[in-house]
Symmetry: C2
Subunit: 478 residues, 2 copies
């Protein structure tokens, strides 16, 4: 029996700024190891008994999802676009309704895309244990053996202490994020596990649960799924019904009220990387507790994370104790590790001074590739533009800027008004104000273009679009 992975990758937090930003949230970043958290999640839920994954994400991230899956050779079963984030209940219900169309008896495994589970085999074993319970009509959740009396997680109270076989145990109750004393009592008791937000159930069973326990979600989500429109390989949930969905977590909407819940105890490693302190501890610190990443150098540091995320940016720490230092091209965070949960304050502070670093990632990902701004002056801007093989920017024009393109890698096909020509390495082309133009990569290797813009206004919204293979509207991004 195939298991359908449902990977939730919509939302974004601010606690891993500057690496995680609204425009490029943490699941798409290689925070621990070589792959991104999303890629690691997709890989964990592939092979063996797994069907192709169903991805739920936001419109802004759809091309990142495709690109990241492509680069690890995983084909998505479908990518559902949520018109707006509505928390986990509507997303899971939409996934269940989508899967029900082809098979109401299908089993679905719901997982966040931004957690770390280093031991894939242990996780697969736990899924097997869950299947046994699913076959008896149970809704299964996975409970993490607490590493300590953490007050940042909800807890699952089990009807009995796990027997050590890994078999599912009936759930007695959900416990919301506790105070420290309650947390200590629970950890000592032995029958309380952390709630990791990973679920396994038969599609029909979870639909029954929604119908009984969260009936107000059913009509709007059904409307959004029934009205969904295919769009270049994505499936866009219908926005009008979707906006009538309450913004609610699946725990509140269904799980806390359901009486047929079982918990698979999981004792493998797990982290939700809820802050830089967690990234530090998941990154296998040295004996002195140092984690280095990128061009970072530690001199007599201890219990610290030093991370440079940019080529050609050297980060050096001297005599640091308990410090998180993360350096990027456009932003640097230095925080006491005990204050990891306050990184969101950095984002608020930058927002209040209108710094783009609060929300925007230096590399701007687009369906055709990405670009980054190298330097900007009062009347010019220089960008590096990276176009995937076979990809193409829209046919467009600008009112306020001219563009000089120099090809430094690969070959471009450039359309300029009525003419089209190939421009290859070490050749350049000039795009005057107002002319209708398009940049394409007809080749088999990435195309890299240095673009020098001059004019009075360089905003991304000075764009008139005539034709776009990615079906983006006028004024939409690049």
């Amino acid at each position: 029996m195939a298991i359908h992975p449902v990977i939730l990758c919509g939302g974004s937090g601010t606690r891993l700024w500057p690496l995680s930003r609204q425009s490029y949230p943490k699941q798409f970043v290689p925070l621990v190891g070589e792959e991104t958290l999303f890629q690691a999640s997709a890989r964990r839920l592939s092979g063996r008994d797994f069907a192709a994954p169903l991805i739920l994400t936001g419109s802004d991230f759809r091309f990142i999802v495709v690109e990241q899956l492509q680069s690890i050779g995983i084909d998505p079963g479908a990518i559902l676009i949520e018109p707006e984030g509505r928390n986990t209940a509507p997303a899971i219900l939409a996934a269940a309704m989508y899967l029900a169309k082809s098979d109401p008896d299908a089993v679905m495994l719901v997982a966040p895309s931004d957690h770390v589970l280093p031991d894939t085999e242990a996780f697969h074993d736990a899924v097997q244990q869950g299947l046994a319970a699913v076959e008896q009509g149970r809704l299964v959740t996975f409970g993490i053996h607490p590493a300590g009396p953490n007050t940042g997680y909800g807890y699952l109270e089990l009807a009995a202490e796990p027997d050590g076989t890994g078999a599912a145990v009936a759930l007695k109750s959900f416990v919301e994020k506790p105070c420290i004393d309650t947390a200590k009592t629970m950890v000592d008791a032995g029958n309380f596990l952390w709630n990791a937000g990973i679920f396994l159930f038969r599609v029909g069973d979870v639909l029954d649960a929604f119908n009984q326990l969260a009936a107000d979600l059913v009509a709007p989500v059904q409307g959004a799924v029934d009205g969904a429109k295919p769009d270049l390989g994505f499936l866009r949930l219908s926005p009008e019904p979707w906006q009538n969905c309450p913004d609610i977590s699946v725990d509140y909407a269904v799980m806390e009220k359901a009486t047929n819940l079982s918990v698979v105890p999981y004792s493998g490693g797990w982290s939700d990387l809820g802050g830089w302190d967690a990234v530090w501890s998941e990154s296998q610190p040295t004996d002195r507790g140092v984690v280095l990443s990128g061009s970072a150098t530690s001199i007599d540091c201890a219990n610290s994370l030093l991370r440079s995320d940019s080529e050609n940016l050297e980060l050096v720490g001297i005599g640091l104790e308990n410090i998180i230092a993360v350096a990027m091209n456009d932003a640097v965070l230095v925080a006491d590790k005990s204050r990891a949960q306050d990184v969101k304050l950095a984002v608020s502070a930058l927002k209040s001074k209108n710094a783009p670093q609060a929300t925007d990632f230096p590399k701007d990902h687009r369906p055709w590739g990405w670009f980054e701004s190298l330097v900007s002056g009062s009347r010019f801007q220089v960008k590096r533009i990276h176009v995937h093989p076979g990809a193409s920017l829209s046919l467009q024009s600008h009112f306020h800027r001219s563009e000089h393109w120099v090809v430094v890698q690969g070959t471009a096909r450039v359309t300029l008004n009525d003419a089209s020509k190939l421009v290859t390495e070490n050749e350049s082309v000039y795009i005057p104000v107002g002319s209708v133009h398009r940049l394409e990569n007809p080749g088999k290797v990435p195309l890299v273009v240095i673009e020098v813009q001059t004019g009075t206004f360089m905003g991304e919204d000075d764009i008139t679009r005539y034709d776009d293979k990615y079906a983006r509207g006028e004024g939409a991004k690049g």
Copy 2:
């Protein structure tokens, strides 16, 4: 009677890395306030009774000296180029010999270019006190009232405790950098001051002292001065005799042996900015001890310095205590403030991994302006080039790279083989491999060019020079 300032600005330390680097040492950086330390030094020694300053510097820094003096409207009397750094004794002797040619009775004031003396008036008063002693044939040094038992400075033992009038007191002895107990004893005694390396004397008197006490320096320095060659407004000391000079400080060579030394006690503020802790304390920290500079944000920090030295680079500190964080485009330092003296270890560490950041400043200053690398790939590099009005790069060619130039500000005159033309904002020109070319700014405003280089080798040493108004040789820099 005019006083001839002699400003020493040759050497470079590593303790203020990454702002101070071998290619651009700390005296040329605005570390405290708007002006650079060198500019502040030149301004402090201008006006009133001061003649135009005599500058001693190294060949690499000569155009920086000119540019920085120009921008504050000070004309140098002369700029002597030391073929190699030989510490202070040969430099001061060369200055004295140079001044002696026009007036052996001239009074010279020798000062480092990298110290902070915030109270110019107090300093000028101290110089007046010194002049009274100079008139009696004394060699005058300035002694700083110790702010504490610092073991990083040499001390001057005075024959008597200063009487509070500011008048010079005879020197009893020099004390080398002491241990902490000795330092405490000296500070308690009241007749010990810090040796700041600032001197005032008649040219004839210091020449006498050298003749008597350091005779081995006289012949080589005289040879270097007599053989000095004018070069575009600089005076290059003759390298052959100069290389026979011992590398020795004026304290060791002369002052510690001289019997006619007087000390002017100085109680105004003074710092040699010998580390980031000193920059912090000289930068008027807030009540909580925070110093912010550039796009830096402090959230609950105390006793810390947060400095961003790059446009568009946001630095945020959270919950830091006693931390120095300095962020630049190519390098970030995060150090415990108590370890400020170990910043030199960062430079060694980067040197040992061949990182250019160890020694090279991201902006490369040249006689005609400066450039910085914006991005480099395996077969391309993008630079921003800033050319001063009226300035001109050499007539040159490259074996391994082509160049695309896009003018984004100002107007260029471009020579390409036998032709020359004006290229203005939003125009571009292509320089093929091997072609002989020159970039000039014939205008009245700075010229800014974006240069895209493509080819197999982008090194600065791929340059054949045909003509250079700054008289630089083949293979020399840009």
